[in-house]
Subunit: 367 residues, 2 copies
């Protein structure tokens, strides 16, 4: 947040504000609380690309009919270990929250539990849901497909979403291990932040329809919106030399577990339009799972070993220009600690967007 | 295999040869058959770094006491969905084969099944085990930790293995989806091939103790053997700009699911030595799992959707210099088809190694 004009906002005030806006758009109170908590948790953890800056996007999804504020969700099939949920085109956050809690409960009972969700929507940060396993002494996993933004290796049209992978594992004294990563070089939300700041993007993040690098963040944002040609590169970059085919493969793995296994939409079929150009529900598919640690070894031993693993890595020799090695989730826990105390730095353009959302529905803007 | 002197060898002859050598070193017949099949399958699929070129390495593991040819394996804990196996420091291939079959059987019965293995050894290609789920209409996953070879993001000492991820999913008309990838820029075995061919390696694959690029494949091989400083870069490369921290995070995810969950060794604690310098069992940990597809949606629908996903991706627009997009496993199935017919091209240095192995134990070398 260096050099960006911002206001420090208390996270509880921000949660309350989000809830009010969502309720005004027909979202049930309990669901609005979940959406607000996911968004503000992202901001608290320093993941601004997925925080309250996205609130307008979800409201827009509701207005366009992509997301239904009071969905009819339905359990399609259930076994003691698995469940398939139709999310009724509801907001992704309450669907994901419910699905993950079921997966964890099944894991606690049976050793492992998995919930596949079809007909859902964008759910914010994947890590939020994976972390719901931690208190129950489980390892949690959360996957989602997403709007096509990433080109295949040797391809120039965005065919896959940034399809994130999140895995959380509990620790003893250390902060939990929380991996939460797009399978592309960068998350799509990062491009929005570069555009907002009028910054160029590094040349190894994306390509246009002729496979040339893009450095203009505004142009790339335009291409990602159009979904006709060009897009982000998979993790590993262009071609196969540095493993771009692996990031591409991981994206397809997530697509398989989310879009295909659930019977939802996939690849460039997500976010379809009706013949008259109207948006239809996104068709996003998601996958949630948990493993109960003490079905494999005693929880206390697992947690101590996790502590030791993370410490060994952090204490290992560093490149000359760096004095620290960060393990996944560590930066986010430090941001959380600081921002819970001093507030969340919300950039002025985001403040303006939130004010517009408030004015539109007659909510008093007190932030 | 262009420009490399080689002999075309029938794969069945190669399997028989491997079995004979392994039996001479005390490996049980049934176990030798599994090891041989995994090695030759790697060669058939075009993954020479993990094929019969590695046979000497496993024999060496047996001689040094890293792998025990007739291990006492033990089921430590079992539930209908999970199992923890002590591999008795046996060869990784039979342990992994057994574990995966149990995981698949549990999945068929319960919807999902997971087997964690401690005290195992290097198991060859991870994809072999993931693929054991395909015939049972399951999705299969196989993970293993491995000898430290990869530096953390901002680190200069190899602290993690190349820790591969393999996932296989069935299809209808298309060849199955088989992702099998190291979480580093390249698999360690690739460096051995470059060294064998006296080739330089690309500068974005590895760093030395000062974080400088290494292009000398012999020097990098030396560093990987010494395990004191330098190593391969995680997928995404150096630093965080192109997502190196994501490859590093994936490596740690695999370490968590393999080394930590099983109660095995992890990170730089793998492949320990006794005080007198003797090698001890590697302490490798592994994780195998399967999900039964029709607990989520009908198998036929899943397979048709997989076909469509893979075709859509392959038929999407390509970079000007390429006329094909390969989905994971596609190149390998094409190699398999060709090599099953014409034979496996075994490079002369590998032929020489195999001849030495034969001479050492008095097996007639007929290849």
């Amino acid at each position: 947040m260096k050099n960006i004009a911002h206001i420090l906002v208390n996270h509880e005030a921000l949660i309350d504000f989000c809830i009010q806006i969502l309720i005004q758009h027909g979202v049930l109170n309990a669901d609005a609380e979940i959406v607000a908590d996911v968004l503000v948790t992202a901001d608290l953890r320093g993941i601004e690309s997925h925080g309250v800056a996205s609130l307008a996007r979800y409201i827009d999804d509701i207005k366009k009919g992509i997301a239904i504020p009071k969905p009819h969700t339905k359990i399609i099939y259930e076994t003691p270990v698995t469940l398939l949920l139709d999310g009724g085109a509801g907001l992704g956050h309450p669907n994901a929250h419910r699905a993950m809690l079921i997966a964890v409960e099944k894991a606690v009972q049976m050793g492992a539990g998995f919930v596949s969700v079809r007909n859902s929507n964008h759910f914010g940060i994947a890590g939020y849901y994976a972390m719901l396993a931690l208190d129950r002494d489980c390892i949690g996993i959360a996957l989602t497909n997403s709007i096509s933004a990433v080109v295949p290796t040797f391809g120039v049209k965005a065919m896959l979403g940034t399809n994130p992978i999140a895995l959380a594992a509990p620790t003893h004294h250390e902060q939990p291990f929380v991996l939460d990563m797009a399978t592309s070089v960068v998350a799509a939300g990062r491009i929005g932040i570069y555009k907002q700041r009028n910054q160029s993007i590094p040349p190894n993040w994306s390509i246009d329809e002729s496979a040339n690098s893009i450095t203009d963040s505004e142009y790339l944002s335009h291409l990602l919106l159009e979904r006709k040609a060009g897009g982000l590169l998979p993790l590993g970059g262009l071609g196969e030399n540095a493993g771009g085919h692996k990031g591409f493969g991981l994206g397809l793995m997530v697509e398989t577990m989310c879009g295909i296994l659930s019977g939802s939409a996939y690849a460039d079929l997500l976010y379809p339009q009706a013949n008259d150009g109207h948006a239809l529900p996104s068709g996003i598919g998601q996958f949630f799972g948990a493993w109960k640690i003490n079905c494999f070894r005693p929880e206390a031993d697992f947690k101590d070993a996790m502590d030791d693993l993370l410490r060994r890595i952090r204490n290992s020799p560093k490149v000359p220009s760096k004095n620290r090695i960060y393990t996944p989730g560590e930066k986010e826990y430090e941001a959380l600690e600081q921002r819970s105390q001093i507030g969340i730095p919300v950039p002025m353009p985001v403040i303006d967007k939130l004010r517009s959302l408030a004015e539109e529905v007659g909510v008093t803007f007190t932030i």
